[in-house]
Symmetry: none
Subunit: 413 residues, 2 copies
């Protein structure tokens, strides 16, 4: 099955937003064994969307559009599809009901132009949208498949995975697949990783790709095969070689995150956690609580932005604050100990540092961060010096804290 | 001048990387007054790149390709351009010299396939590449302009800004620019926004575009003019009309964020803030502390994931927790009051809710969130029901909290 994708939105042609949907679509189609040969971006213009749909229909078996299904006047995809295929638009009663219910549930009046979203080209099927008012469109026409999905990334991703792909399987998608597995590495830099596996980089099937992300490295092993099992058989020997060489750095695979892996280990061991953050300002708590079920092990976070909070709530000694400064090994340790005592948890983490852009000195520059862990009274502290803008320093500091926590949990297995 | 862009690379069609070059190109062309009508992505395939170049040449005045200029076998853009225009490839002596020098300077042997990068279609000009071995290509042919730039983002960006755009000025680019201004709206839905400004949407210069983001709406006013000042003169009357109609919803423009606008108001008024979060798990504190200088007004955050924390640290009454439940108006209010008392700040915010995916009941479903503010003892509480995955519910809840805070700060001006 050969696919082409059309992304609509003047905001894309003006560079106001980055087209993340394109990458997501490509990934998901690869997993389903559908090759995508072309992606096109056009603005919110009826003629140009229509032309793009007609051109794609000449070359591909499956034409997917993204965007332009909303209620406003520059949402033109349904009209363009109907005109491109010379089909009339008709109101779909169940779509109409869905839209009215969406507003009723929220207790808001429905602006009448929302009903435009209930119009479908004759013969089209409706794809439910659990997250918004605009349903998707699916249509078989002259032996080609047309699918229209909404543009907001959460709606696009959910409908692609939950509605469109299951439907495409019925049309024979998935005969040969492109499958990749990602090994996720923490605590080692990109070139150090490459050096350890350089001799393995020349293979053709599977191939290896290295991607550096802030605070972690992703190794992608990609294979083509007739099914996932065969692909995994190709991937496994290479994965084992890599795992052996990078054992103490690989924290997970594929969709794993450091916060998720740490959460699993805490759950397995029945341990509880509390964190005291200064320069990361709540980001560590936010990442930990992104994991469903984290309330079982994450009990409390304190964002101690004001030094008075460090003294009053966390019991950091005012003398130490005065003599060593808020950004110091001693204060990080006292914060870890203080929050653990306060929350009565097994583990406490303390982070203090300078996220910038202001507040740095020659002795304590922007990016200096101390991280401490108190695990049943056993403590460890480390010093880091990060570079980059404020948000990247915050992110890297939480990566470092999660890496420290991961090593503690794993080594005490 | 009408442009189209062609991005080559199988990695784009596999979704292994996100096409950030597309957004950068669009932004830079807009600044130079060049309208881009279409972007196309194709894989590393000679026929398909050639076909894309020929099609674009039928519609546009300027055809820009990105990628496929390197030394490896899947770098095919120069061959595709030559075949598309039926021109022979010839070795360019100064390109050859540049490539040899690049390796000599680094003291490395030159793999011979690098000399492929010295081949140019007859009549083409070389665009110097200060960051890599692959020079760019510029060619005038049958009254159309063709430009080929390398794909690595740093090389692409540098050569676009420093080599290609100055050259395009000689061909009349930059006589007119495209300039846009974004108005950012909180507290009103997409179709409600459109309803209030529908009569203004028909203009041709400036035009208005509506973009829905989670918890906020962006209105983009785009003008074409000979310079930024003239563009702003075109934009201003429309902006004033829109501002009048949507006054109480527009929180900022262009790069403004709700957390930044709130931070400015807190600073201006010399007010201080503390937050107590349950379901948002630190995200509100994280967003507030992303703003440089936030330590001046943001004193403390408590992530009260465990109910015991709500009682012990925030002073929420155990009876209320038992009778009303943790997710209730009363608990949100008690959290706001409690964290304000604890931190001794002017304002306290409390958030409690169910982020999901588990934990919902028919009476208290996933997505139910109560948000409360205590401003010098004056309190307000609101109930929201959000949809979507866990992270989106967390995000929308912080949007709602920031909107509530923004309204308090602005109305008390």
């Amino acid at each position: 099955m050969r696919a082409e994708a059309i992304f609509t939105g003047t905001e894309l042609l003006l560079g106001q937003i980055i087209n993340t949907n394109a990458a997501l679509l490509s990934q998901e189609l690869a997993k389903a064994g559908i090759s995508i040969f072309r992606q096109v971006v056009v603005g919110d213009n009826l003629e140009r969307i229509k032309e793009a749909i007609q051109e794609a229909g000449k070359r591909a078996d499956l034409i997917i559009t993204c965007g332009g299904l909303g209620p406003t006047e520059d949402d033109l995809t349904r009209e363009a599809l109907a005109e491109a295929l010379e089909l009339p638009l008709e109101e779909n009663p169940s779509a109409k009901e869905h839209i009215i219910r969406f507003f009723t549930l929220r207790g808001r009046p429905m602006p009448p132009q929302n009903l435009k979203q209930a119009l479908f080209p004759r013969g089209a099927r409706l794809l439910d949208n659990p997250l918004g008012t605009a349903p998707g469109i699916f249509l078989e026409h002259n032996n080609k498949l047309y699918a229209c999905l909404p543009g907001p990334p959460s709606e696009f991703g959910t409908m692609l995975k939950e509605k469109l792909l299951p439907l495409l399987q019925q049309y024979g998608a998935g005969k040969e697949i492109i499958f990749f597995r990602v090994l996720k590495i923490s605590g080692l830099g990109e070139s150090a990783v490459e050096e350890k596996i350089r001799d393995l980089l020349q293979g053709m099937n599977p191939t290896i790709g290295i991607l550096a992300k802030p605070g972690e490295i992703h190794l992608r092993i990609t294979a083509r095969a007739r099914d996932t099992r065969t692909a995994l058989e190709l991937i496994r020997p290479l994965e084992e070689k890599i795992s052996e060489r990078l054992k103490s750095y690989i924290f997970g695979t594929d969709g794993d995150t450091l916060e998720g892996v740490v959460g699993n280990l805490l759950t397995l061991k029945g341990l509880t956690l509390a964190v005291a953050e200064s320069c990361t300002g709540g980001l560590l708590a936010h990442r930990l609580t992104n994991i469903p079920g984290s309330s079982a092990y994450f009990h409390q976070g304190i964002v101690a932005y004001d030094n008075k909070v460090k003294v009053k709530i966390l019991g950091v000694s005012a003398e130490i604050l005065a003599s060593k400064g808020a950004v110091s090994e001693e204060v990080a340790l006292a914060m870890a100990r203080g929050v653990r005592d306060l929350a009565g948890t097994d583990i406490g983490i303390g982070i203090t540092g300078i996220a910038g852009p202001g507040g740095g000195t020659p002795a304590k520059p922007v990016g200096l961060v101390y991280l401490a862990i108190d695990y049943h009274g056993n403590t460890q502290v480390k010093r880091e010096l990060f570079q980059g803008p404020r948000e990247e320093i915050k992110w890297r500091a939480t990566q470092s804290a999660l890496d420290m926590l991961w090593r503690h949990l794993k080594d005490n297995e």
